[in-house]
Symmetry: C2
Subunit: 401 residues, 2 copies
Amino acid sequence: MPEAILDDISHRRYNPLRGSWVLVSPHRTKRPWQGQQEAASKIELPQYDPSCYLCPGNKRAQGDVNPKYDKTFVFVNDFAAVKEQQAEYEPPVQDGCKADVSMSTMAKLMGGTALATRLLRAESTTGKCYVITFAPAHNVTLADMPAESILPVIDTWTKIYTSHVDPHSPLAQAAKSTTLPASTPNGNTQPNQQYRYMQIFENKGQAMGCSNPHPHGQIWTTTSLPEEPSIELQNLQQYRREQGGANLLEDYASLESEKGERTVFENASFWAGCPWWATWPFEIMVIAKKHKRALVDLDQQNQDDLAQVISEITRRYDNLFETSFPYSMGIHQAPLTGTNEEIEASHFHMHFYPPLLRSATVRKFLVGYEMMAEPQRDITPEQAAKRLRDCGGPLYRESLK
Amino acid sequence: MPEAILDDISHRRYNPLRGSWVLVSPHRTKRPWQGQQEAASKIELPQYDPSCYLCPGNKRAQGDVNPKYDKTFVFVNDFAAVKEQQAEYEPPVQDGCKADVSMSTMAKLMGGTALATRLLRAESTTGKCYVITFAPAHNVTLADMPAESILPVIDTWTKIYTSHVDPHSPLAQAAKSTTLPASTPNGNTQPNQQYRYMQIFENKGQAMGCSNPHPHGQIWTTTSLPEEPSIELQNLQQYRREQGGANLLEDYASLESEKGERTVFENASFWAGCPWWATWPFEIMVIAKKHKRALVDLDQQNQDDLAQVISEITRRYDNLFETSFPYSMGIHQAPLTGTNEEIEASHFHMHFYPPLLRSATVRKFLVGYEMMAEPQRDITPEQAAKRLRDCGGPLYRESLK
Ligand SMILES: O=P(O)(O)O[C@H]1O[C@H](CO)[C@@H](O)[C@H](O)[C@H]1O
Ligand SMILES: O=P(O)(O)O[C@H]1O[C@H](CO)[C@@H](O)[C@H](O)[C@H]1O
């Protein structure tokens, strides 16, 4: 690292994708820890669990029965955070006043209404939430799955994304060349209206609020563009304008691939590493090396490469502390509908946010200072990347079998 | 609530203080929970713990011995995230090229350097971190302490803040009328340079990364203005400009105090309630009703009222699920130094971010969707406020004694 001094001093690093800062305190790793310990993961799960609502052939909460699927399976979330249909909501507009109130009461009422309109703003959101299982076996995770078995997951994500893309969007052409979504298990994946954004993500492990170990992820699709993709999209668009059409993340991936010190793994299509501005101790970003707006832009080689990257990352995570490594991961890509500028400025990437810091049981808490003031990290991204780079190879559990 | 429909439909609410949105899914509380359970808090602690580094008379990590304090005690954090002194760091500037490299290599090098300068930005941060104990007894929390015993905590916060205020700032005049910091225990609370911001906060409970139950908080003071206060300050300044000098939070507190449906507790000086845009299930904001820029602006009556509010909130939190309620809380106020506009637009307020959702052991996880896309909550702020309003009265533990 050219600025070796950053290994020793407190400093802030800038995240150009979010336009935000993170505080880095490398000397702080020496701090003793006497706080909460995470439960180490139980790896002794059956391959089929009759009480699991995700296993093939089992019954779910609302009574539906899962098919005997052999790769992935998609269904509409039984406890969705947003729904396709709901009662209409019209945000209040400032009313005129009734004639029989005194002027001062009227002024107060008007003032109160104006204030309320300004400070108590809400808007209705509808959408569709899916659950996607990654494999029929109850007791595997992405880390246990070879790249070939991760490929159907990528394929399913791509099909769902494709079936939700605005037919008038510049993405629609690319979407056409993708296999049609008809082959997706459980037909109910056609939206009945045009949504704005699709968030694909996975919560893995109890520490990340996951309540079922069966390998699965979620897909929330909404009429609104959520906060994080919206912030990123603004910065991507600004960079594109300022740098004559260049893409921030494409530039960043090429810079990192050349430098190498924050690289965890890379192949022809993707760079994966701990970003300069990482918040979580072992945070990883996966970035397409060439400009790809969304899943629909990935060709067969890119899909194979993505499967390999996901396999390499999740395996290294598990190897690091010899535990089933908890994380939340998600895909950021072009909105389902948007301006041409928004869609062309979008760049396919994934974030992995894992909470563990020192061992299978000691995590980093982003609490007090982090919530009130600014994210703070202890080990540097370069130190984290080195450790992850160095723990490739077979999954540690393999040798225990 | 005028818009009763918001109790039933998914919607987003706008946070004008942060300029951000939160997704509200009221129907989602019906979701069953089979995930991680928090450990219920052990309330059987001794009043004095010989192995606690915060108890009076005990030795700390670096060998210092705590005085036999009887109210609060302040010392410089033995494992500080930022330090007063460290090696100098000059961010790299783009270099000229050596003469003997070919044009294309030069272009590449220049390009690489320019990219690095643009995308790998860092800045040095120094500062001073303090720990403040709230009471000598090892086994109490703010919830156990009557308002009179919380007063010395407010007094100590005020003194430390005062002793760090820029003597040329418009706050300095107010600071002069505050009791001098000389009486603060442990003399080492004078900064040796002018810092920009002071973040006062408390992490309570193991679920919030707190590693020692002895009642205490922290104070991190830095040369930089951290992310959150910086975002808030921009919005406070903009509102002030657009609304002819009005203060967003003063307006908001008066609106909420009139409406009442999100109020948990209020007195002459402060409104406390679940804000319209709350993210955490039982999140509370405490807002000064009259314009107060910082702790130095609080008179004796305001300080008494603040002690009462803190006591009322923390007690209600514990009563809600009959447990020692974990949270992170912090104070936002004027920067220690800044433009007149920044200082006049600042408004004293506190945030309480507690993670519990349904019981002493079931928390809300802000994970996958929340990290990748947008914070999401289940119960509405109005429902949360009602429950907290209704559980005032003596601390539940009192009757168990
Ligand atoms: O300083 P403490 O209490 O040891 O540590 C706790 O609070 C800090 C400030 O919010 C966080 O950075 C740590 O992750 C957390 O464990
Ligand atoms: O939907 P799940 O897996 O039951 O729930 C989990 O993920 C959701 C989306 O990230 C969060 O809102 C929940 O707090 C979390 O427990």
